[in-house]
């Protein structure tokens, strides 16, 4: 999970300060502790959940790859679909993490509902008739999760088909 830690917005300033003040081996422990504490303090609950799931996927994928190396790749399609299901799920989850991080909100204006709904899908009249709950899915974080669910289902469908 190392690459994701610098992604937290306030990280760099704290770590650089602590490297200056301490020395040698005790310093590294201190840095690590600092990072963990900072991560636990500043990361939202859902992002932590995503990180846990991604760690789980890395373990599952690693096991599958190790089995392929040790026991041979026959039947190869089974290896491909099993391994790519895990890898694909990892990629999709990473995308979800990027889209739902508060700091990246300005990067994804296209998932915002204001422009999307009236212009493409619905006439003005219909928008009034759509229940509030459905409209809620066009809120950015909801929209990102819906994309994620659809993408994952397509991935699972392909992988199960391919492993036959």
């Amino acid at each position: 999970m190392a690459p994701k830690k610098p992604a937290t917005a306030t990280g760099p300033a704290t770590t650089s300060a602590s490297t200056l003040s301490s020395s040698a081996s005790g310093q590294i422990d201190k840095i690590a502790l600092n990072i963990v504490q900072h991560y636990q303090k500043t990361t939202p609950q859902r992002t932590k959940l995503i990180d846990t799931f991604m760690a789980f996927l890395v373990i599952v994928g690693g096991l599958q790859f190790a089995y392929c190396v040790l026991a041979g790749n026959y039947p190869f399609n089974a290896f491909l679909s099993g391994f790519s299901a895990t890898v694909g799920q990892f990629v999709l989850t990473a995308s979800l993490r990027i889209q739902t991080t508060e700091a990246n909100k300005s990067e994804f204006p296209s998932v915002s509902p204001e422009r999307f709904v009236p212009s493409v899908l619905f006439s003005g009249q219909l928008v009034q008739a759509i229940p509030k709950r459905i409209l809620l899915t066009f809120v950015p974080s909801h929209r990102a999760f819906a994309d994620y669910v659809v993408g994952s289902l397509i991935l699972h469908f392909f992988c199960i088909n391919f492993i036959n």
Binding site: F56, V60, P75, A78, L136, V139, P140, H142, H156
Partner: protein, 490 residues
């Protein structure tokens, strides 16, 4: 009444059909003079009027037998023609020695070759005392059978001659009946001591002698179609009796180089046999008392049985293998196992069977492969992919079925089931059945869940999907605060 007569006639015709050789029963005998046939009356009589062999070495004329329809001609006869309107007029030709240098316009080398090509059989009897007609010399050269120069030669042996008849000239050779050329060949020319030619092997019973008087030897080329029936003993040699020098200085050939009776079987299974001594077929040497040099008691020659074996082989009465049927089918449970399908799939289990009979004098008997030999099936595309032993499975009264089951190799294309069984003294068996072999259809591969090696990866997908479902559930469960937050921001 009339119907009864015609029925009897039909029955007669049927019985004649039944006893004639597998290749037909019209035999043409060519002699210098038709009157000469009296000298061979026993031999020709055996061909025409059959005899039954009884175990207590009695020859009994009987109403059943070899039944050849014999026509006698001389080479000079103008009516003589081996072909009529492009078809053979005779099934077999028996040529006795003639004095003329050529055989006339009706028996040119070309005609004789055509006769062989049309699956006619020729038995050629030569003699050491008359020069061989030059047209026959050139015919034999076509088959890589070589005769002495000057078309004349005499085989003598100073150690194996008959003391009663040839104490001076040493030109009557007494030879043991021939054994098999190789232990894995079928052999038809070894006679039991009582002289019965027998297609079956009778080991240890080979005693008695065959007299080979006044004969000419041949040497054979390397071709696989040629095989010697009777080889000369190692102490014999062939010289030209016309040369009147005291010492023989120019030998044609000596020892077992010399073949005294040679067989040629063409690729169409037509047969040509050269008997070096016509006299050995004559009445004089059938069951004659002879005394080998150095031995006290005289014994009877086995020439009659030997002549029967040689003529029987040449005229297709023995050693003719017939393929009754060929069958192959899919050998898999739950699938259609129709006979001889045109298409198979790679890795199919297939059973191939071939039924073989062998003609033995007057009937078909089950064909058996010699002990050290194998009948093999080749599964081939250009070159064989499998070469498998065919095992006898079903044996009936007149046929044996050989079959083998095997898995087709992992190669698609056009394949042949090929049985190519060519052995000396047996007619050629060549059976080729072509089938297409396709690859797996997309739905014929084994599913991953039946391959145990794939289970960890199936489990991998399962764990991923389950983990994802759990993740989604927890995500939605932890939703309310997040939703409120995002709503506020909006």
């Amino acid at each position: 009444m009339r119907s009864l007569v015609s029925f009897l006639l039909l029955a007669l015709v049927a019985s004649v059909q039944a006893i004639s050789s597998s290749g037909g029963n019209r035999l043409l005998v060519i002699l210098e003079d038709v009157a000469e046939k009296d000298g061979y009356s026993k031999f020709l009589g055996d061909l025409e009027v059959p005899y039954l062999y009884k175990p207590h070495h009695l020859l009994i004329a009987s109403t059943t037998g070899r039944g050849f329809d014999i026509a006698y001609e001389t080479p000079k006869s103008e009516s003589l023609s081996l072909f009529h309107l492009g078809e053979r007029s005779y099934d077999h030709v028996l040529l006795f020695p003639t004095k003329a240098k050529g055989l006339g316009p009706n028996l040119t080398p070309n005609v004789l070759l055509e006769f062989i090509n049309a699956e006619g059989n020729i038995l050629l009897a030569l003699s050491g005392s008359t020069p061989v007609p030059s047209s026959l010399v050139s015919v034999l050269l076509e088959f890589d059978i070589h005769l002495p120069t000057d078309r004349q030669g005499l085989v003598v042996d100073h150690f194996n001659y008959d003391t009663t008849s040839a104490s001076e000239k040493h030109d009557v050779l007494l030879l043991p009946t021939p054994g098999p050329l190789r232990p894995d060949y079928k052999h038809f020319f070894s006679l039991s001591s009582s002289g019965a030619p027998d297609g079956r092997e009778r080991a240890g019973e080979r005693s008695g002698v065959v007299a080979f008087p006044n004969g000419i030897g041949q040497t054979l080329g390397q071709g696989p179609l040629l095989s010697p029936i009777l080889r000369a003993p190692s102490t014999s040699y062939s010289y030209n009796p016309k040369e009147e020098s005291e010492a023989v200085d120019d030998l044609f050939a000596s020892g077992s180089q010399l073949s005294l009776v040679s067989a040629f079987q063409a690729r169409n299974s037509a047969r040509l046999t050269v008997v070096g001594s016509a006299d050995m077929l004559s009445n004089t040497w059938f069951d004659t008392d002879v005394k080998k040099v150095g031995e006290k008691t005289s014994i009877k020659t086995l020439n009659r049985g030997f002549a029967k074996a040689v003529s029987g082989w040449t005229f297709g009465e023995i050693g003719v293998v017939r393929v009754n049927w060929v069958e192959h089918h899919l050998n898999e449970e739950g699938l259609s196992n129709a006979s001889n399908p045109k298409i198979y799939r790679i890795k199919n289990d297939v059973t191939y069977s071939v039924s073989l009979s062998e003609y033995s004098w007057d009937k078909y008997i089950p064909f058996t492969v010699p002990a050290n030999d194998e009948l093999q099936l080749e599964y081939s595309m250009l070159s064989p992919f499998n070469r498998l032993k065919l095992n006898p499975t079903i044996s009936s009264e007149d046929s044996t079925t050989y079959s083998v089951s095997f898995k087709l190799p992992d190669q698609h294309g056009i394949f042949n089931f090929l049985v190519n069984y060519k052995r000396p003294f047996l007619s050629n068996v060549f059976e080729k059945n072509t089938v297409s072999v396709r690859h797996f259809a997309h739905d014929e591969w084994p599913r991953s869940f039946v391959i145990s090696g794939a289970w960890p990866w199936i489990a991998g997908i399962g764990v991923t999907v389950t983990g994802w479902l759990a993740f989604c559930a927890v995500w939605l469960y932890s939703a309310p605060p997040a939703k409120g937050e995002s709503k506020k921001k909006q």
